[in-house]
Assembly symmetry: C2
Homo-oligomer: 206 residues x 2
DNA sequence: TAGATTGTTAATCGATTAACAATC
DNA sequence: TAGATTGTTAATCGATTAACAATC
């Protein structure tokens, strides 16, 4: 006997709630309501209450939600009440920008190694990291017990690297390459392709 | 009397189809089927046929879809059978990476101006562009008739810039800042926040 | 108490899938 | 013709919303 799995579409909204609540916390707000949170995000208050109620009773009738408490709960639910080590593959312009980005740590992630297969880049700095040779990536990821990876390599190389990541025990891949990858179904994958978003918007523009 | 609007969730898949078909074209394939396309994307063949049938009858029974023809149709539907001028705001690491990215042009977009409000950056190169002062952005976007913008500035500045973009007649904003923005409902907005994707995956990881 | 907001139920709404006639 | 695949219908499935009792 096991509880029904929570729909992934709900899971997808929780990080959004967490982000908005974290911003409220920086504004020194203590309490919020499903209505206020929904207004900020463009989501109905009913949906927010329904989503949160999947995981517990976090609010108080007549009052709303304590922001710090709800942040703690969401971080726990999303498993970002810890810092995940992340491998970054690709030290081109985008890879370097990612390596330099300061917004990962306080949201649960830290890059611990940067890889590239270009001999001109290996050994050179990328942000505060020294670029390592992709050749050794499987062994190194296994040794370091890294389970999350970001892939910022050309589309033509992405599948080959992804195969190695899977072999190395990576369980979650964030792919910046504009291509669809095949990974085992027990490995999570998410994609970022800015052009998909742009094209989705130009459809509506005459 | 007007035809029912096509659901946005369908519009969101069309760029994905276009991307996969374009890849097939580079592989010198001429024909594909809803089944093959679906297998590549992890989408059911029924859904692909249903989605496409919203816009016309693009396939042949017994045969499938001509790839080049279907690419043409999708480009027409998504309005990327033209090149859209894009303004990029933010010339930090990420902005520079975006400015240098070579993958926009053959998918319907070209950056025509890069802005930053840091005096140390204004006048300096970002890729093949010279960074311009954000101070003048409204007039310049109006003059250049730009209607699409990418926003790669810190979250704290994003809303202020977005307000100016709206004033300048921008109709579509791709926001890389990790924050939710308020824009009029006739302005399209899409977000890219890598941490949202990472947190969505760690939920499933013990 | 009066006012406000939650958590939850039931109803509505919309999206996906299965199946198959049409037809290449 | 035989085999294959589309376009479409109807059925299923799942997500969202409206509404309200509970209660702070």
């Amino acid at each position: 006997m096991c509880a029904a799995a929570i729909p992934d579409i709900i899971i997808g909204r929780l990080p959004l709630y967490l982000r908005a609540l974290s911003k409220m916390a920086t504004e020194d707000k203590e309490i919020t309501s499903s209505q206020e949170l929904g207004a900020r995000l463009g989501i109905s208050s009913a949906q927010i209450r329904k989503d949160l109620s999947q995981f517990g009773e976090f609010g108080k009738q007549g009052t709303g939600y304590n922001i710090v408490f709800l942040i703690d709960q969401l971080r726990r639910i999303l498993h970002v009440n810890q810092i995940w080590d992340v491998a970054l593959i690709g030290a081109g312009d985008l890879g370097k920008a990612i390596a330099n980005y300061g917004g990962f740590l306080n949201r649960g992630f830290q890059i611990v190694a940067v890889y590239d297969n270009d001999p001109h880049k290996v050994g050179q700095p990328a942000g505060k990291y020294i670029v390592r040779a992709t050749r050794n990536i499987v062994d190194e990821i296994i040794t370091k017990k890294i389970r999350v990876a970001m892939l910022a390599v050309p589309a033509s190389e992405a599948q080959g690297i992804a195969d190695q990541l899977v072999k190395a025990g990576i369980r979650a891949i964030l792919c910046y390459a504009p291509t669809s990858l095949k990974v085992p179904e027990d490995v999570r994958i998410q994609y970022i392709d800015p052009v998909l978003h742009l094209q989705r918007m130009t459809y509506y523009m005459p």
